[in-house]
């Protein structure tokens, strides 16, 4: 089937993702608070959202730290350096934006075009083995893969492509872009080179004057709207793609090592698929409406919460010495109690999933230990025969077995703990805490009720 159609569908999916992200940026009629105004917020529509984005990107209040003192400390100077900000922001933008979209796509295309070749390419990278070619054959250790560098069939394909017009023959839809694998290899280095060029472009004097003029990055870069939205964007990217990616890794582990029964596979599949839907609806909804970590909406909520606080106890004696401790407000207790409730629920969910998966890992550990012992015993029996030594190099199998053992025992443990606990806990969280019940200030109401009862 045609690569052109696949590419069209792939582009449509990318455009769909762009629609999602674009809606994140300017789709919400948010409350905009201007710094120099009298504190009167107004609702912005989609058009003015674009205007605000552009205005904030062009704010000329950019401050570059020029005089670095040693007394400030290396870390302080490093963090406040414009070079660091530029390097981090550009490299993050390029790597996260381009890398997360282009690399899977290019790998997918190259894998479809030349599966064996891309496998060998990745295998050489991963294994860090010394490879050399002799007469069109790839030699790796004791293995020899014939015809590795033989790309003559690509020339035949391109010749056919050039001779016939597209769709002129019944099988024209089968035209594959064979030569894309070279492009794939160069794309990786292209990204690295792009970051380096951006860095050296950003640190010269001309660029600095440009930055000063247009001020798209400020010293208060961490507090402006685009940066916060960008952080949300990074969170979306990482959470979405990495969850999908780890899901693939998970099934790779399970089916490769037969590490689970069919029923558990089924349950797990059901769970993950349901969580995937929960992610789509609840996480994106939560990110849009309240945001996951960094949010303008959260900022507004905290802002109005802060400035609409009711003082119910003021101690005028300690105002001069302890300004913050001189008054008590209802909102502070609400926030604190909600934090406590969140903390306990968080701990409960995390520990419950942790214990469950730790038990599963212990069971797997014992099973694999038995497997390892049995395998070793059989191996010693096989080594006892002369045929074994005369046929293959035995050290390869030992290395492979040890690598497998190390990989599963340690990396598998990390994989289980890091991925399963984190992702499951997060997804359970997102399901419960970004639902409509908790979006309607349920915890605040709960804590207010509890406080009022305590006061009585």
């Amino acid at each position: 089937m045609s690569t052109l159609g696949h590419g069209f569908v792939l582009i449509s999916l990318l455009i769909f993702f762009f629609v999602v992200v674009e809606a994140k940026f300017v789709g919400e009629p948010f409350l905009f608070y201007e710094r120099n105004s009298l504190g009167v917020p107004y609702f912005a529509n989609r058009l003015s959202s674009y205007n605000i984005l552009i205005i904030q990107l062009r704010q000329p209040s950019f401050f570059l730290k020029k005089n670095f003192k040693k007394s400030d400390g290396f870390l302080f100077n490093l963090i406040n350096s414009s070079k660091t900000i530029l390097l981090m922001s550009t490299s993050l933008f390029i790597f996260v934006g381009l890398g997360s979209t282009l690399m899977p796509v290019s790998l997918f295309i190259s894998g479809a075009a030349n599966l064996v070749g891309s496998y060998n390419y990745l295998f050489n990278i991963v294994s860090l083995g010394v490879t050399f070619e002799d007469g069109g054959n790839l030699t790796y250790g004791s293995f020899s893969i014939p015809g590795y560098w033989d790309f003559s069939f690509l020339e035949e394909g391109s010749a056919f492509l050039s001779e016939y017009f597209l769709l002129a023959t019944p099988g024209a839809a089968l035209v594959l872009l064979h030569s894309i694998s070279d492009l794939t290899k160069s794309l990786f280095f292209f990204l690295v080179i792009l970051v380096v060029i951006f860095y050296f472009f950003s640190v010269n004097s001309l660029t600095r004057s440009f930055v000063r003029l247009y001020g798209f990055l400020k010293n208060t870069v961490t507090t402006n709207l685009p940066f916060l939205n960008f952080l949300d964007l990074v969170v979306i990217f990482i959470f979405f793609f990495m969850s999908v990616y780890f899901l693939e890794v998970h099934f790779f582990f399970i089916f490769l090592f037969s590490g689970a029964s069919e029923s558990s596979n089924y349950q797990f599949n059901f769970l993950l698929s349901s969580f995937f839907f929960v992610f789509l609806v609840k996480t994106l909804g939560g990110i849009y409406s309240q945001s996951l970590l960094f949010s303008v909406s959260s900022f507004n909520q905290a802002f109005f919460n802060f400035y609409s606080g009711v003082f119910f106890k003021v101690n005028f004696k300690n105002v001069a010495t302890k300004a913050r401790g001189s008054y008590k407000r209802k909102q502070d207790f609400e926030g604190f109690s909600s934090f406590i409730i969140y903390f306990f629920l968080n701990s409960f969910f995390f520990l419950s999933t942790f214990l469950v998966w730790f038990l599963r890992f212990c069971i797997q550990f014992v099973r694999l230990l038995v497997l390892f012992i049995v395998h070793t015993v059989f191996e010693f029996i096989v080594i006892g025969s002369d045929f074994y030594f005369s046929s293959v190099n035995s050290i390869d199998f030992f290395i492979f077995k040890s690598f497998f053992l190390f990989f599963f025992y340690f990396c598998g443990f990390l994989y289980l703990i890091v991925y399963l606990n984190l992702m499951f806990t997060l997804q359970i969280f997102i399901f419960y805490f970004f639902s409509e019940v908790f979006q309607s200030n349920f915890l605040f109401d709960l804590s207010a009720i509890s406080i009022s009862k305590l006061k009585k």
Binding site: S2, A23, K24, A173, V281, G285
Partner: protein, 203 residues
């Protein structure tokens, strides 16, 4: 597999046409008929698997019977759209994409439901073209249409319609370019699950 999608399609049709579904009883009856008939069509996967002739006839008949309620549903949607006052949205575009996909896939499904033709087209790209037109073009059209339809309900933000139209164009023509040639490839005898293929099929 497409019954939930049918429900969503009815929802989108009502929203698009600003009119209730005409022949609502037929819709319900045909949905029930698809449910019942769907349980007795499993033999159409086994025409070359050793079924005897009478069973082939039976499963051919039931497989072809499914097309009747499906066609009724499509007819109801089209008549509702024709009767009502159509308001174009992004979901409407994906609705038309769904209708085209399921029509193409359904017509080819009639061919594959017949035992004699299915023996000819067994393990060819014709089968792939058929079920991808139904499930990929039909199913994913409904998924995207539903996401765009319930976007504000889910996310409380508005999406950019221009880029949504771009997405539809790429999706629609991409699906057509991908899967319609597969039908012709299958009719030419291109086999499934074969890595290598004759030079005749290459561009």
């Amino acid at each position: 597999m497409l019954l939930p999608a049918f429900g969503y399609v009815s929802n989108i049709v009502v929203f698009t046409a600003r009119h209730n579904i005409l022949t609502y009883d037929h819709m319900v009856i045909s949905m029930f008929a698809i449910c019942v008939l769907g349980m007795i069509v499993w033999g159409h996967h086994m025409y070359v698997g050793g079924l005897n002739r009478s069973m082939k006839n039976l499963f051919s008949a039931t497989s072809l019977f499914v097309s009747i309620p499906s066609t009724l549903k499509i007819h109801s949607w089209v008549v509702t759209l024709q009767t009502g006052n159509i308001h174009f949205t992004i979901s409407t575009l994906f609705l038309f994409s769904f209708l085209i996909g399921i029509l193409l896939g359904g017509i080819t499904g009639m061919v594959l439901g017949t035992a004699g033709f299915d023996v000819l087209y067994h393990d060819t790209y014709y089968v792939i073209g058929h079920f991808h037109l139904v499930l990929s073009m039909g199913g994913f059209s409904v998924i995207f249409g539903v996401i765009y339809h319930y976007w504000f309900v889910f996310f409380r933000v508005r999406y950019n319609k221009l880029f949504a139209i771009f997405q539809f164009v790429f999706f629609f023509f991409g699906e057509l370019i991908t899967f319609v040639p597969a039908l012709f490839l299958g009719m030419s005898g291109m086999p499934r699950r074969i890595n290598d293929y004759p030079v005749f099929f290459s561009g």
